[in-house]
């Protein structure tokens, strides 16, 4: 500890360089923590998927619907246990119109700040294939018997303070899912929970309602957004997927069937391998920052070559001089790490509180984005590693420096 003031004085010597180096490390840790947190949330989302559920969608894009007649044909495929329509409604609470007290019920203006995932499903088969959603039997029955009824997850219920019997309105931003006479009215008939131990990653910030209500409400004009398929044997997922797609190979609406996990991954990333992309960015940035920091440390130590000679002349041993340089580098890492972690936490708080972005994240199931302690710890370790790796070569140079040569340095 008695050497710390000496090290700190050296860090303050060229504060612009020190600040730049710290910021470079901070940027790296910021990116690392933020990207890893996104990855962690995505993985948690994927963990909530089941191996015995498949998703059949339009082969071209999710944007295109599939005919309602496909349900029965998919059901006939060997290995399929049950099939349910699942259409992403894309509804949000109508915003308050100018001059109106309440924002709900009679407005056609969309309030994007209150967006949450909502699906039009074939209730019975869909809930049967989702044991994750634990709904009391009486509420389940009430939901089945009410066309306007919906079930909501506990998180969503808590968010809006909704109780059984409450009414609210949703309007989709997708034109075919809109009614000419205003938003859809829903009655809360059930609130489901989940077992986080048995079903980790299951998000209860979601609402389900009857596809039939959507179908009738829109004048019987909509088809199925996708089909959720439960299969008998997860081992047969590949074969069943191929069999389903083969059924519609020569139709106008060809299908693409994949596991729920693959579907969720593609839905979240929308393109390519998200993990590879994010990790690739993280690695490239880390490596670049490492080079920059190492160069800066080398310059800082080279400038002080005479001082290193003086320290050794005064009786400082080579390991002690090396230790001083390493400590300096580690301090840069600590400072950069702390700022990077703080920045990451800050940006995630902003993302999950900024209306437009919050909505977009919630729409793909990322309603929560937090800096997990493990990610923060890892980020800090990476910062220390960066400091250590950047300082190692200059420290070794200081260790090896011969006094007579160091004192001759200009």
């Amino acid at each position: 500890m008695k050497y710390l003031p000496y090290v700190l004085k050296h860090l303050r010597r060229n504060w612009i360089r020190t600040a730049s180096t710290v910021l470079a490390i901070a940027l790296c840790i910021f990116l690392f923590c933020t990207l890893q947190s996104v990855m962690a949330e995505v993985n948690a989302l994927l963990e909530g998927t089941s191996a015995n559920r498949l998703v059949t969608r339009h082969a071209v894009s999710l944007v295109f619907n599939l005919p309602l007649s496909y349900g029965a044909r998919i059901q006939s495929v060997h290995g399929v246990k049950r099939v349910a329509i699942n259409s992403w409604f894309g509804g949000s609470l109508p915003a308050k119109k100018e001059g109106q007290e309440s924002g709900e019920g009679d407005s056609s203006t969309t309030d994007w700040s209150n967006f949450f995932p909502n699906m039009a499903v074939e209730a019975e088969p869909f809930l049967a294939m989702y044991p994750e959603y634990q709904l009391p039997p009486d509420q389940y029955q009430a939901f089945l018997q009410d066309l306007r009824g919906c079930v909501i997850g506990r998180k969503l219920a808590d968010k809006y303070g909704w109780k059984l019997g409450d009414t609210f309105y949703l309007e989709s931003f997708i034109p075919p899912y809109r009614k000419p006479d205003g938003p859809f009215e829903f009655v809360v008939r059930g609130i489901f929970d989940t077992d986080p131990v048995k079903y980790p990653g299951t998000d209860t910030n979601i609402m389900l309602f009857h596809h039939k209500y959507l179908y009738e409400g829109t004048g019987r004009g909509v088809a199925a957004g996708s089909y959720w398929v439960e299969i008998e044997d997860p081992e047969q997922a590949g074969a069943v997927s191929k069999a389903i797609d083969a059924l519609f190979e020569n139709s106008d609406a060809q299908t693409h069937t994949e596991t729920e996990k693959a579907f969720a991954a593609s839905f979240v990333s929308m393109a390519g391998n998200l993990a590879l992309l994010l990790n690739g960015i993280g690695l490239a940035v880390t490596f670049t920052i490492l080079l920059v920091t190492a160069n800066t440390m080398s310059m800082a130590v080279r400038e002080r070559r005479t001082e290193i000679g003086v320290l050794k002349t005064l009786g400082f041993s080579s390991p002690q001089v090396m230790g001083l340089v390493v400590t300096e580098a580690l301090l840069l890492g600590v400072l950069g790490g702390a700022i990077g972690i703080g920045g990451s936490q800050g940006i995630m708080w902003m993302l999950t509180h900024a209306p437009g972005i919050k909505t977009a994240l919630a729409g793909i199931g990322l309603s929560e984005l937090n800096l997990r302690p493990l990610v923060a710890s890892l980020g800090f370790v990476v910062a220390l590693f960066l400091g250590l790796a950047a300082g190692f070569v200059p420290a070794l140079g200081a260790y090896r420096a011969r006094i007579t040569e160091a004192l001759r340095a200009v």
Binding site: K2, Y3, P5, Y6, K9, H10, R12, R13, T306, E307, G309, V310, L311, K312, T313, L314, G315, F316, S317, S318, P319, Q320, I403, T404, L407
Partner: protein, 223 residues
């Protein structure tokens, strides 16, 4: 027994296949409390000899004994410990650490001891008082004149109370007045504090302060 006993020392520098003999069988004895000046032309080996006595370089052959320790046989780590306890080094260009105040510069060698911060500060203050810079304790090197910087460097050299002071052209970068003050200070350290001083100099006025003068030329010492 001599405070510094250099016997039959050879120092050869090698660069690739080329060999350069700087010191060739040199011997020198400096008694405790002596003040020795080493003179000679550039490249004659004065600084090399000083470095061997200070324990910052090793001879190719021969022995160097300082204060009863054969420094030529010590390892690098042992040499570092030896220097911190036995030798104070005064450089031509002061070599103070620019980011540290005068007190902190003087305190630097004491970081290697087990003294408390308070004790270190007290000793640094005493050393600065000895060199007449008690009122500049918190000044940084850039705020001091060349003569004052050299006095801080001398305070740093004596703060651990070493037996031997080695000075490599201590007045070489100073004006005449400052140089005289530094020489007076070194004379005081030798006379009143009984420090054994070995000084390399080109300056005849500086050499005049010494009790003993040696002339070094092409690695051979003559008195």
């Amino acid at each position: 027994m001599a405070m510094v006993d250099v016997r039959d020392v050879r120092k050869i520098y090698r660069r690739d296949a080329e060999e350069l003999t700087v010191l060739d069988g040199l011997s020198l004895q400096v008694q405790a409390g002596d003040f020795v000046a080493l003179m000679g032309p550039s490249g004659s080996g004065k600084t090399t000899l000083l470095n061997l006595i200070a324990g910052i370089d090793k001879p190719t052959s021969g022995t160097v004994v300082v204060n009863g320790t054969e420094v030529s046989r010590l390892s690098e780590t042992q040499l570092a410990a030896f220097r911190s306890h036995n030798v104070g080094f005064i450089f031509q260009f002061y070599n103070l650490i620019p980011v540290l105040s005068a007190t902190e510069n003087v305190e630097l060698p004491l970081l290697l001891t087990s003294l408390s911060k308070k004790e270190r500060r007290e000793r640094a203050a005493t050393a600065l008082k000895v060199v007449g810079l008690a009122d500049r304790a918190e000044h940084y090197p850039r705020q001091l004149s060349g003569g004052q910087e050299q006095r801080v460097a001398i305070a740093r050299a004596i703060v651990t109370d070493p037996k031997v002071l080695v000075a490599d052209e201590p007045t070489g970068d100073l004006d005449a007045k400052s140089a005289q003050e530094i020489l007076d200070l070194m004379e005081t350290l030798n006379r009143d504090f009984k420090k054994t001083i070995v000084m390399v100099t080109h300056d005849p006025r500086a050499a005049a302060k010494a009790h003993t003068k040696y002339h070094l030329d092409k690695g051979v010492l003559t008195s």
